[in-house]
Amino acid sequence: MATTALRREMGEVSPTRRRVMGLLFLVAGFGIWFLFSRGVGAADLTTFGMTPGGTDATIGDLIFPARSTLNITAFLCVALGGYQLARGFGKYTNLILGVVALGFLFGFLAWAAAGKSVNVAGLLSSSLVKAVPLTLGALSGILAERSGIVNIAIEGQMLAAAMMGSIIGSVTGNGWLGLLAAICTGGLLGWLLGWLSIRYRTDQIVVGTVINIFATGLTSYISSKFLQPYQHLNNAPIFPRVPLPLLSDIPFFGTLLFNHNVFVYAMYILLVVLTIALFSTKWGLRQRSVGEHPRAADTLGINVYRTQYMGVILSGMVAGVAGGYFTLGSVGRFDEVMTAGRGFIALAAMIFGNWMPFGTFGAGLIFGFADSLAAKFSILGVNIPSEFMLMAPYIATMVVLAGVVGKVQAPAAEGEPYVKEG
C-alpha cells in the first residue's frame, strides 16, 4: 500500500501497467489499420462537418482523404505503443492513453464517414448537452462522498427536483423560482440522507435506495394525480440559450461551448468552484479529511457530523440543479421517471473521473459522446448494433473500477458511519 502511494507521488508507473498500456496502444494502432484503414477505398474522402447545429458556420468543413489519414493515425498509435513498451511515458501515461483513445475514435469516425459526411461539431455539441446532467450528478456525488457519505440517491433527488422545478416554474411562471425550488428539493432530500445515515447510522446504500423508491413513487403519484389532469401545473418556462459576449465569438469553440443555456454555464462554474474549494481551501481540506479519516479529523477539532451534513446537503442541492435541467433546461414539463437512470450513470461518471471535478466532466463528455454517436449509427450505416456503443460506458466504468487502467481512489472512510467516542 505504502509503495503504491509512493509510486503515485513520484509519478511512476508499475512495470506491469507500463506493459499493459503499451500493448493496449499497439492493439489500438493495429486495430485502426486492420478494422478501419483496410475498409475504405483508396480515393474515399471523409467530410467532418464543423458547424454546431443552429448557428452559422464559423469555419469550413474538414475534408480529408480517409485511407492515408487512417494510416497515419494507426502509425502514430503503434509508435506511441512502441515507445511505451521500450521506455514508458511515466506520469504522462494516462494522457497518452487519452490521446490513443481519441485517435481510435477519430479513426472510427473517419472510417464510418468515408465517402460520406458526418457533422462532428453537432456530435460534440450534443455530447456536451448530454454531459450536463451527468456531470452535475457526478459533482453531487463528489460532494457527498468526499465527506464520507455514499449518495446513491442522486437519481431520486434529481427526479424529485425536476418535478418541483416544473411545478413551481409553472405556477409562478418564473424559471428562476423553479430552479430555486429544484435546488431546495434536492437539498431537502440530501438532508434526509444525512439525517438517516448520520443520526440513525442507517446503511447509506439502503437509505439511498429508499430515497430513490420514495422519489419515484412520490413523483409518479403526484404526476398522475395532479399534473396530468391539470396541465397548467406542468408547463414551465424553459431557460433560453444565451450566447456569452466575447467568448461565443471565438471561432468554432465559441459556438460549441459558450452558446448554451444557464445550466451549461452553471456546470462550468461549479466545476471551477468545486475544484478550487475542495483542493485549495481550508473548507475543502476539512471535507476531505472527514471523508478520509473522520477520527483524526475529530481529534483535530473538526465537527465531523456538521461537515458531513454540509456535504450531503450541498450534494443534494447540486443534484437539484441537475434535476432542474431535465424540466427547466430542456423540455419544460415533467414526465414520470424522466431521469431514466441518469443518476446512476452520474455515479459511474464520478468513479470514472476518479472523484475529481474535471475528471467527472471528462467522463460525462465521454458518456455523452457514446450516447450521441450511437444515435448516428443508423444514419452512417455502420453495421454494429448501436446498443453495443451504448453499453460501452458501463463496461468501461467496470474496467476502470477493476483497476486495469490505473487505480481509482475512493475516499477511504466512505460508507462507514462515524461514531463519536466519549
Partner: protein, 423 residues
C-alpha cells in the same frame, strides 16, 4: 492485544454466535420478538400512507372548507374507501364470494376468488427477488443489480422456451427454469468475481451490469430474438411444453411458479442453515476477517453468494416469462430489483420472513390496482408505502422512539456494506 489474537477472539465469538441455539424465551416469544419491528413498521407505513392520501385529496380540502366536522368525515371516508378497495382488490370481496358460491356457477366462483390468486401471482417474483437479496446479504454482498439479473434470466428462459421445440413438458420446464437461473447466475457471478479479484465494489458493478442487461435485451429483441412476423420488439411465444401449468380455468392465472418459489425458499433455508457451505457463507457475511482466520476461502464464498443470488433473481424473470407472459417483450424497468432490497430487509434476511414479506408486498401491489380504479389513488402509493416501511426497518431506532420500545443492542440498524473504491 495483537491483531492476530483479536481476530482469533472474534472468530471464537462468531462461531459461538452462529452455532448456538437460541435459549431465551419460548419458540413463540422468539418469533414474536423478531416480528415486532417489521409488523410495527408495516402499521406505521399504512398510517403514514393514510395521512398522505388525505393530504393529496381535493375532496378533503373542499370538505374542510365547509366545516371541520365534514373535513374529518371526508378524510375518514377517503381512507376507508382506499384501504377497503386495497383489501377487496387483493383478497376478494366477501359479498361477491358468497353470492358466487350460492349461484354455483364455475366461472363466477373463479372470478370472485381471482383477486386472492392474483395476489399470489404477484407475490411470486417478489419471493424469488427477496430470496436473492437475502442470500446476498447473508454472504456479505449487496446485490443491488437484481434488476439486471431478472432481465438476463428472462432472456435465457425465453430463448430456451421458444428455440427448443418438441420436448415433453416434464423435461422442457426444468430445462427452461435452469436456463433462466443460469442467465441470472452469470450476471451475478461477474460482479462477484470482479469483487473477489479486483475489489471493485459489487454495488457499482451490478448497477453497471443492469444497464448492460437492458441494452443487451434491447439489441436481442430488435434483432436475433425478434418475433419474425412482428414489428414490435417482442420474442416469439414459448413452446407450450415450457409454459408453467395453471391450476384453474379462466380467469385465474395462478400457476406452478408460486410453488417453485416456495421450494426455492425451502432450498435457501436448507442451504443457509443446514449445510457446511451455508454456514461458511454466513460466517463470511458476518465477519470476513474472522472467517479468513478460521480458514474459510472468503473470496470464493463471496463469489458463490453473488452467483446464487443472481440465479434466484434470474428465476424471478424466468417465472414471469414461463408462467405469465409466455414471451419476452422490451421493458426497461421491472422494479423487482429495487423492491427486493425492501423485501429482504423486511424479512430480516430469513427465507420465511422473505416469503411473508413478499406475500404482503404482492398482495398490496395487486390490491393497489383496484384502489386506483375504485378510489382514484394512483398505484404509485405502493412505492411510497414501501419506502416508508423500509426506512422504519432499516432504522429501527425511529420505530423504537415512536412506540417507546426498549433499546436493544442492535440500535445501529442494518449495515451491509462500506465504501466501494476497491481494496
Amino acid at each position: 492485544m495483537t491483531e492476530e489474537k483479536k481476530t482469533k477472539k472474534a472468530a471464537e465469538i462468531l462461531v459461538e454466535e452462529l452455532t448456538k441455539t437460541p435459549t431465551n424465551g419460548t419458540w413463540l416469544q422468539r418469533v414474536g420478538q423478531s416480528m415486532l419491528i417489521p409488523v410495527l413498521a408495516v402499521i406505521s407505513g399504512l398510517f403514514l400512507g393514510a395521512v398522505f392520501i388525505i393530504l393529496t385529496s381535493e375532496d378533503v380540502y373542499a370538505a374542510f372548507g365547509r366545516s371541520i366536522g365534514q373535513g374529518l368525515g371526508a378524510s375518514f371516508q377517503i381512507v376507508w374507501e382506499s384501504y377497503s378497495a386495497l383489501f377487496t382488490g387483493s383478497l376478494g370481496d366477501p359479498a361477491k364470494i358468497s353470492a358466487a358460491l350460492q349461484s354455483g356457477d364455475g366461472e363466477a366462483i373463479r372470478r370472485a376468488f381471482n383477486p386472492f390468486f392474483e395476489s399470489l401471482v404477484a407475490s411470486t417474483p417478489y419471493i424469488f427477488g427477496g430470496l436473492a437479496l437475502a442470500l446476498g446479504f447473508r454472504a456479505g454482498v449487496f446485490n443491488i443489480g437484481a434488476e439486471g439479473q431478472v432481465f438476463v434470466g428472462a432472456i435465457f428462459a425465453a430463448y430456451a422456451g421458444y428455440a427448443i421445440q418438441g420436448l415433453p413438458a416434464i423435461i422442457h420446464i426444468p430445462l427452461a427454469l435452469a436456463a433462466g437461473a443460469l442467465g441470472g447466475a452469470i450476471w451475478g457471478f461477474i460482479p462477484g468475481w470482479l469483487k473477489a479479484k479486483t475489489g471493485g465494489h459489487e454495488v457499482i458493478n451490478t448497477i453497471m451490469m443492469n444497464y448492460v442487461a437492458f441494452r443487451l435485451s434491447e439489441w436481442l429483441l430488435a434483432g436475433p430474438m425478434k418475433r419474425p412476423d412482428s414489428f414490435n420488439p417482442i420474442s416469439p411465444t414459448i413452446a407450450e411444453s415450457a409454459m408453467l401449468p395453471r391450476f384453474f380455468g379462466y380467469p385465474i392465472r395462478f400457476h406452478l411458479g408460486f410453488f417453485i418459489a416456495l421450494l426455492a425458499a425451502w432450498f435457501v433455508y436448507w442451504f443457509l442453515f443446514k449445510t457446511t457451505w451455508g454456514f461458511n457463507l454466513r460466517t463470511v457475511g458476518a465477519n470476513p476477517s474472522a472467517a479468513k482466520y478460521a480458514g474459510i476461502n472468503v473470496t470464493r464464498y463471496m463469489v458463490l453468494g453473488m452467483t446464487l443470488s443472481g440465479a434466484l433473481a434470474g428465476l424471478a424473470g424466468t417465472n414471469e416469462v414461463l408462467g405469465l407472459n409466455h414471451n419476452l417483450a422490451l421493458a426497461f424497468y421491472s422494479g423487482y430489483g429495487f423492491d427486493s432490497i425492501a423485501l429482504a430487509l423486511l424479512g430480516n434476511n430469513h427465507p420465511i420472513g422473505v416469503v411473508l414479506a413478499a406475500l404482503l408486498f404482492g398482495t398490496m401491489r395487486n390490491g393497489a390496482t383496484r384502489m386506483q380504479v375504485a378510489a382514484g389513488i394512483p398505484i404509485d402509493i405502493i412505492s411510497i408505502l414501501q419506502a416508508v416501511i423500509l426506512i422504519f426497518i432499516a432504522a429501527p431506532a425511529i420505530i423504537r422512539t415512536i412506540f417507546r420500545l426498549k433499546e436493544r443492542e442492535d440500535v445501529g440498524g442494518v449495515r451491509m456494506v462500506s465504501g466501494w473504491g476497491g481494496n
